[in-house]
Symmetry: C2
Subunit: 160 residues, 2 copies
DNA sequence: CGTGAAACATTAGCGGC
DNA sequence: GCCGCTAATGTTTCACG
Protein backbone atom coordinates (compact mmCIF):
# COMPACT_ATOMS: atom_id res chain seq x y z
CA UNK A 1 0.00 0.00 0.00
CA UNK A 2 0.95 3.60 -0.47
CA UNK A 3 0.98 6.08 2.36
CA UNK A 4 0.07 9.44 0.93
CA UNK A 5 1.73 12.67 1.83
CA UNK A 6 -0.16 15.65 3.11
CA UNK A 7 0.83 17.82 0.13
CA UNK A 8 -2.55 18.98 -1.17
CA UNK A 9 -3.56 17.74 -4.59
CA UNK A 10 -0.80 15.17 -4.78
CA UNK A 11 -0.97 11.49 -3.91
CA UNK A 12 2.65 10.69 -4.55
CA UNK A 13 3.69 8.21 -1.88
CA UNK A 14 6.05 9.12 0.94
CA UNK A 15 6.55 5.51 1.88
CA UNK A 16 6.02 2.23 0.06
CA UNK A 17 6.28 -1.21 1.57
CA UNK A 18 4.84 -4.55 0.48
CA UNK A 19 4.24 -7.14 3.14
CA UNK A 20 1.49 -9.67 3.80
CA UNK A 21 -0.28 -7.57 6.41
CA UNK A 22 0.21 -4.10 4.98
CA UNK A 23 -3.50 -3.74 4.36
CA UNK A 24 -4.26 -4.52 7.98
CA UNK A 25 -1.58 -2.46 9.64
CA UNK A 26 -2.90 -0.94 12.81
CA UNK A 27 -3.26 2.79 12.69
CA UNK A 28 -0.68 2.91 15.43
CA UNK A 29 1.94 1.02 13.39
CA UNK A 30 1.16 3.07 10.32
CA UNK A 31 1.60 6.23 12.37
CA UNK A 32 5.03 5.01 13.47
CA UNK A 33 6.05 4.24 9.89
CA UNK A 34 5.18 7.68 8.68
CA UNK A 35 6.48 9.34 11.87
CA UNK A 36 3.20 10.82 12.91
CA UNK A 37 1.03 10.37 15.93
CA UNK A 38 -2.06 8.16 15.60
CA UNK A 39 -4.72 10.85 15.34
CA UNK A 40 -3.53 12.84 12.32
CA UNK A 41 -2.56 9.53 10.71
CA UNK A 42 -6.09 8.23 11.03
CA UNK A 43 -7.48 11.53 9.78
CA UNK A 44 -5.36 11.23 6.63
CA UNK A 45 -6.44 7.69 5.96
CA UNK A 46 -10.11 8.61 6.43
CA UNK A 47 -9.60 11.51 4.07
CA UNK A 48 -8.09 9.25 1.39
CA UNK A 49 -11.04 6.89 1.83
CA UNK A 50 -13.51 9.74 1.42
CA UNK A 51 -11.73 11.06 -1.66
CA UNK A 52 -11.90 7.57 -3.13
CA UNK A 53 -8.12 7.31 -3.44
CA UNK A 54 -8.46 4.19 -1.31
CA UNK A 55 -11.34 2.27 -2.85
CA UNK A 56 -11.43 -0.72 -0.54
CA UNK A 57 -9.47 -3.18 1.56
CA UNK A 58 -9.29 -6.83 0.56
CA UNK A 59 -7.63 -10.11 1.41
CA UNK A 60 -5.81 -11.70 -1.51
CA UNK A 61 -6.41 -15.45 -1.60
CA UNK A 62 -4.36 -18.12 -3.30
CA UNK A 63 -6.45 -19.08 -6.37
CA UNK A 64 -5.22 -22.67 -6.37
CA UNK A 65 -5.92 -23.26 -2.69
CA UNK A 66 -9.33 -21.73 -3.01
CA UNK A 67 -10.26 -23.82 -6.04
CA UNK A 68 -9.93 -21.49 -9.02
CA UNK A 69 -6.53 -22.51 -10.29
CA UNK A 70 -7.19 -21.97 -13.98
CA UNK A 71 -6.83 -18.47 -15.38
CA UNK A 72 -7.94 -17.62 -18.92
CA UNK A 73 -7.99 -14.41 -20.90
CA UNK A 74 -10.78 -14.29 -23.44
CA UNK A 75 -10.98 -11.71 -26.22
CA UNK A 76 -14.44 -11.12 -27.55
CA UNK A 77 -15.84 -9.43 -30.59
CA UNK A 78 -19.42 -8.19 -30.49
CA UNK A 79 -22.17 -8.13 -32.98
CA UNK A 80 -22.05 -4.76 -34.75
CA UNK A 81 -25.37 -4.92 -36.56
CA UNK A 82 -27.18 -2.95 -33.90
CA UNK A 83 -24.35 -0.66 -32.99
CA UNK A 84 -26.50 2.39 -33.61
CA UNK A 85 -28.82 1.45 -30.80
CA UNK A 86 -25.86 0.52 -28.63
CA UNK A 87 -27.62 -2.61 -27.38
CA UNK A 88 -24.81 -5.15 -27.86
CA UNK A 89 -22.37 -3.23 -25.78
CA UNK A 90 -24.60 -2.51 -22.86
CA UNK A 91 -26.30 -5.93 -22.88
CA UNK A 92 -23.02 -7.68 -22.72
CA UNK A 93 -21.65 -5.31 -20.09
CA UNK A 94 -24.70 -5.94 -17.93
CA UNK A 95 -24.57 -9.71 -18.23
CA UNK A 96 -20.88 -9.90 -17.44
CA UNK A 97 -21.59 -8.53 -13.97
CA UNK A 98 -23.64 -11.59 -13.13
CA UNK A 99 -21.01 -14.15 -14.14
CA UNK A 100 -18.78 -14.98 -11.21
CA UNK A 101 -16.18 -16.59 -13.48
CA UNK A 102 -15.39 -13.16 -14.96
CA UNK A 103 -13.30 -11.20 -12.50
CA UNK A 104 -12.30 -8.44 -14.90
CA UNK A 105 -13.68 -7.08 -18.13
CA UNK A 106 -12.44 -4.16 -20.21
CA UNK A 107 -13.56 -2.55 -23.44
CA UNK A 108 -10.35 -2.63 -25.48
CA UNK A 109 -8.83 -0.88 -28.43
CA UNK A 110 -7.77 -3.10 -31.34
CA UNK A 111 -9.39 -5.96 -33.20
CA UNK A 112 -11.38 -7.27 -30.30
CA UNK A 113 -14.01 -5.38 -28.33
CA UNK A 114 -13.74 -6.81 -24.85
CA UNK A 115 -11.08 -8.56 -22.86
CA UNK A 116 -12.23 -10.86 -20.05
CA UNK A 117 -10.21 -12.32 -17.26
CA UNK A 118 -11.81 -15.62 -16.33
CA UNK A 119 -10.94 -17.53 -13.18
CA UNK A 120 -12.22 -21.10 -12.83
CA UNK A 121 -11.43 -24.46 -11.28
CA UNK A 122 -10.71 -26.54 -14.37
CA UNK A 123 -10.76 -26.79 -18.14
CA UNK A 124 -14.07 -28.54 -17.81
CA UNK A 125 -15.57 -25.65 -15.91
CA UNK A 126 -14.08 -23.24 -18.40
CA UNK A 127 -15.65 -25.05 -21.28
CA UNK A 128 -19.05 -25.02 -19.61
CA UNK A 129 -18.68 -21.28 -19.05
CA UNK A 130 -17.60 -20.67 -22.66
CA UNK A 131 -20.27 -22.89 -24.22
CA UNK A 132 -23.23 -22.12 -21.99
CA UNK A 133 -22.69 -18.48 -21.23
CA UNK A 134 -20.31 -16.73 -23.61
CA UNK A 135 -21.18 -18.43 -26.87
CA UNK A 136 -24.89 -18.47 -26.09
CA UNK A 137 -24.85 -14.73 -25.69
CA UNK A 138 -26.59 -12.99 -28.61
CA UNK A 139 -24.01 -10.18 -28.75
CA UNK A 140 -20.93 -12.37 -29.06
CA UNK A 141 -19.72 -13.08 -32.61
CA UNK A 142 -16.13 -14.13 -32.02
CA UNK A 143 -14.01 -15.33 -29.14
CA UNK A 144 -10.34 -16.15 -28.58
CA UNK A 145 -8.97 -17.74 -25.45
CA UNK A 146 -5.49 -18.05 -23.99
CA UNK A 147 -4.67 -19.85 -20.81
CA UNK A 148 -2.10 -18.78 -18.24
CA UNK A 149 0.46 -21.53 -17.91
CA UNK A 150 2.69 -19.78 -15.42
CA UNK A 151 2.52 -16.67 -13.29
CA UNK A 152 5.68 -14.60 -13.67
CA UNK A 153 4.57 -11.57 -11.73
CA UNK A 154 1.39 -10.59 -9.94
CA UNK A 155 1.16 -7.52 -7.78
CA UNK A 156 -1.36 -4.90 -6.72
CA UNK A 157 1.37 -2.38 -5.99
CA UNK A 158 1.64 0.94 -7.72
CA UNK A 159 5.12 2.38 -7.37
CA UNK A 160 6.81 5.07 -9.44
CA UNK B 1 -13.24 -11.70 1.30
CA UNK B 2 -14.20 -15.25 1.96
CA UNK B 3 -14.69 -16.62 5.44
CA UNK B 4 -13.72 -20.25 5.40
CA UNK B 5 -15.69 -23.00 7.06
CA UNK B 6 -14.19 -25.30 9.60
CA UNK B 7 -14.70 -28.38 7.37
CA UNK B 8 -11.17 -29.78 7.14
CA UNK B 9 -9.59 -29.80 3.70
CA UNK B 10 -12.23 -27.54 2.20
CA UNK B 11 -12.08 -23.79 1.75
CA UNK B 12 -15.55 -23.34 0.37
CA UNK B 13 -16.87 -20.12 1.86
CA UNK B 14 -19.62 -20.05 4.45
CA UNK B 15 -20.15 -16.34 4.03
CA UNK B 16 -19.31 -13.89 1.25
CA UNK B 17 -19.72 -10.16 1.42
CA UNK B 18 -18.05 -7.40 -0.58
CA UNK B 19 -17.75 -4.03 1.08
CA UNK B 20 -15.05 -1.38 1.18
CA UNK B 21 -13.72 -2.38 4.56
CA UNK B 22 -14.07 -6.15 4.40
CA UNK B 23 -10.33 -6.60 4.45
CA UNK B 24 -10.04 -4.58 7.61
CA UNK B 25 -12.98 -6.00 9.53
CA UNK B 26 -12.14 -6.31 13.17
CA UNK B 27 -11.87 -9.85 14.42
CA UNK B 28 -14.82 -9.08 16.63
CA UNK B 29 -17.08 -8.06 13.74
CA UNK B 30 -15.93 -11.03 11.70
CA UNK B 31 -16.70 -13.31 14.61
CA UNK B 32 -20.22 -11.87 14.78
CA UNK B 33 -20.74 -12.39 11.06
CA UNK B 34 -19.80 -16.04 11.22
CA UNK B 35 -21.53 -16.53 14.60
CA UNK B 36 -18.45 -17.52 16.50
CA UNK B 37 -16.69 -16.02 19.46
CA UNK B 38 -13.57 -13.94 18.81
CA UNK B 39 -10.93 -16.46 19.83
CA UNK B 40 -11.76 -19.40 17.55
CA UNK B 41 -12.42 -16.88 14.79
CA UNK B 42 -8.95 -15.43 15.11
CA UNK B 43 -7.46 -18.94 15.28
CA UNK B 44 -9.11 -19.81 11.97
CA UNK B 45 -7.88 -16.68 10.27
CA UNK B 46 -4.33 -17.29 11.49
CA UNK B 47 -4.59 -20.85 10.27
CA UNK B 48 -5.67 -19.71 6.80
CA UNK B 49 -2.76 -17.26 6.76
CA UNK B 50 -0.30 -20.02 7.70
CA UNK B 51 -1.70 -22.37 5.07
CA UNK B 52 -1.26 -19.62 2.52
CA UNK B 53 -4.95 -19.57 1.65
CA UNK B 54 -4.84 -15.89 2.56
CA UNK B 55 -1.74 -14.56 0.85
CA UNK B 56 -1.89 -10.94 1.96
CA UNK B 57 -4.05 -7.96 2.79
CA UNK B 58 -4.00 -4.90 0.56
CA UNK B 59 -5.69 -1.58 0.00
CA UNK B 60 -7.07 -1.14 -3.51
CA UNK B 61 -6.38 2.36 -4.82
CA UNK B 62 -8.10 4.23 -7.60
CA UNK B 63 -5.61 4.08 -10.51
CA UNK B 64 -6.75 7.42 -11.94
CA UNK B 65 -6.52 9.27 -8.64
CA UNK B 66 -3.12 7.81 -7.97
CA UNK B 67 -1.76 8.73 -11.38
CA UNK B 68 -1.73 5.49 -13.38
CA UNK B 69 -4.93 5.91 -15.34
CA UNK B 70 -3.80 4.14 -18.51
CA UNK B 71 -4.06 0.35 -18.63
CA UNK B 72 -2.53 -1.65 -21.46
CA UNK B 73 -2.30 -5.35 -22.18
CA UNK B 74 0.81 -6.29 -24.14
CA UNK B 75 1.29 -9.68 -25.78
CA UNK B 76 4.89 -10.60 -26.37
CA UNK B 77 6.64 -13.23 -28.42
CA UNK B 78 10.14 -14.26 -27.43
CA UNK B 79 13.20 -15.16 -29.38
CA UNK B 80 13.25 -18.94 -29.83
CA UNK B 81 16.79 -19.31 -31.15
CA UNK B 82 18.28 -20.18 -27.78
CA UNK B 83 15.34 -22.08 -26.44
CA UNK B 84 17.49 -25.09 -25.67
CA UNK B 85 19.42 -23.16 -23.07
CA UNK B 86 16.19 -21.62 -21.82
CA UNK B 87 17.77 -18.18 -21.55
CA UNK B 88 15.10 -16.06 -23.25
CA UNK B 89 12.36 -17.21 -20.96
CA UNK B 90 14.16 -16.80 -17.70
CA UNK B 91 15.93 -13.55 -18.68
CA UNK B 92 12.69 -11.94 -19.57
CA UNK B 93 10.94 -13.25 -16.48
CA UNK B 94 13.69 -11.84 -14.30
CA UNK B 95 13.69 -8.42 -15.92
CA UNK B 96 9.93 -8.05 -15.72
CA UNK B 97 10.16 -8.11 -11.92
CA UNK B 98 12.14 -4.88 -11.95
CA UNK B 99 9.75 -2.91 -14.14
CA UNK B 100 7.16 -1.17 -11.98
CA UNK B 101 4.92 -0.50 -15.00
CA UNK B 102 4.24 -4.25 -15.26
CA UNK B 103 1.80 -5.28 -12.58
CA UNK B 104 1.05 -8.73 -13.96
CA UNK B 105 2.81 -11.10 -16.31
CA UNK B 106 1.78 -14.59 -17.36
CA UNK B 107 3.25 -17.20 -19.66
CA UNK B 108 0.36 -17.91 -22.01
CA UNK B 109 -0.81 -20.63 -24.32
CA UNK B 110 -1.42 -19.60 -27.92
CA UNK B 111 0.48 -17.54 -30.44
CA UNK B 112 2.12 -15.24 -27.94
CA UNK B 113 4.41 -16.28 -25.12
CA UNK B 114 3.74 -13.71 -22.43
CA UNK B 115 0.88 -11.43 -21.54
CA UNK B 116 1.71 -8.26 -19.60
CA UNK B 117 -0.62 -5.96 -17.77
CA UNK B 118 0.93 -2.52 -17.84
CA UNK B 119 -0.30 0.36 -15.72
CA UNK B 120 1.01 3.85 -16.48
CA UNK B 121 0.11 7.54 -16.32
CA UNK B 122 -0.16 8.37 -20.01
CA UNK B 123 0.37 7.30 -23.60
CA UNK B 124 3.66 9.10 -23.48
CA UNK B 125 4.84 7.11 -20.50
CA UNK B 126 3.63 3.94 -22.16
CA UNK B 127 5.60 4.65 -25.27
CA UNK B 128 8.75 5.28 -23.27
CA UNK B 129 8.23 1.97 -21.49
CA UNK B 130 7.60 0.13 -24.74
CA UNK B 131 10.50 1.70 -26.65
CA UNK B 132 13.13 1.83 -23.93
CA UNK B 133 12.43 -1.30 -22.00
CA UNK B 134 10.34 -3.83 -23.91
CA UNK B 135 11.65 -3.37 -27.43
CA UNK B 136 15.23 -2.99 -26.25
CA UNK B 137 15.05 -6.35 -24.55
CA UNK B 138 17.11 -8.97 -26.44
CA UNK B 139 14.51 -11.71 -25.92
CA UNK B 140 11.55 -9.82 -27.36
CA UNK B 141 10.83 -10.43 -31.06
CA UNK B 142 7.21 -9.32 -31.34
CA UNK B 143 4.78 -7.23 -29.37
CA UNK B 144 1.09 -6.36 -29.60
CA UNK B 145 -0.65 -3.80 -27.43
CA UNK B 146 -4.29 -3.09 -26.63
CA UNK B 147 -5.48 -0.30 -24.41
CA UNK B 148 -8.38 -0.46 -21.99
CA UNK B 149 -10.89 2.19 -22.97
CA UNK B 150 -13.47 1.37 -20.33
CA UNK B 151 -13.65 -0.80 -17.25
CA UNK B 152 -16.78 -2.93 -17.29
CA UNK B 153 -16.01 -5.08 -14.29
CA UNK B 154 -13.12 -5.30 -11.88
CA UNK B 155 -13.25 -7.41 -8.77
CA UNK B 156 -10.95 -9.43 -6.54
CA UNK B 157 -13.81 -11.59 -5.35
CA UNK B 158 -13.94 -15.31 -5.81
CA UNK B 159 -17.45 -16.62 -5.44
CA UNK B 160 -18.94 -19.91 -6.59
C1' DC C 1 -0.55 18.43 14.90
C1' DG C 2 -0.42 16.12 19.36
C1' DT C 3 -2.26 14.66 24.15
C1' DG C 4 -5.12 12.15 27.08
C1' DA C 5 -8.96 9.20 28.44
C1' DA C 6 -12.87 6.23 27.55
C1' DA C 7 -14.43 2.72 24.75
C1' DC C 8 -13.24 -1.01 22.28
C1' DA C 9 -10.41 -4.95 20.25
C1' DT C 10 -6.79 -8.49 20.41
C1' DT C 11 -4.79 -12.40 22.09
C1' DA C 12 -2.86 -16.10 25.31
C1' DG C 13 -4.11 -19.36 28.71
C1' DC C 14 -7.38 -22.52 30.62
C1' DG C 15 -11.38 -25.50 31.37
C1' DG C 16 -15.13 -27.96 29.10
C1' DC C 17 -17.58 -30.54 25.48
C1' DG D 1 -9.66 -32.03 18.06
C1' DC D 2 -12.44 -27.35 18.45
C1' DC D 3 -15.30 -24.01 21.31
C1' DG D 4 -15.85 -20.10 24.45
C1' DC D 5 -14.55 -17.62 28.80
C1' DT D 6 -11.66 -14.41 31.20
C1' DA D 7 -8.31 -10.91 31.94
C1' DA D 8 -4.21 -8.35 30.70
C1' DT D 9 -2.51 -5.71 27.19
C1' DG D 10 -2.82 -2.88 23.23
C1' DT D 11 -5.58 0.08 19.88
C1' DT D 12 -9.02 3.33 18.16
C1' DT D 13 -11.23 7.45 18.30
C1' DC D 14 -12.83 11.54 20.22
C1' DA D 15 -12.78 16.37 22.23
C1' DC D 16 -9.64 19.83 23.29
C1' DG D 17 -5.16 22.57 23.73
Amino acid sequence: MIYAQSSPGSYRPSYIAPSPKEGRLSNQDLADKVSLSPSPCLRRVRHLEELGVIKRYVAILDPIKVGVGLLAYVSIRLNKSNRGSGTSYSDFARDVQAWPEVVECFAMSGEMDYLLRVQVASLEQFSRFAMDKLMQHPSVVDMRTSFAMQTIKETTEISF
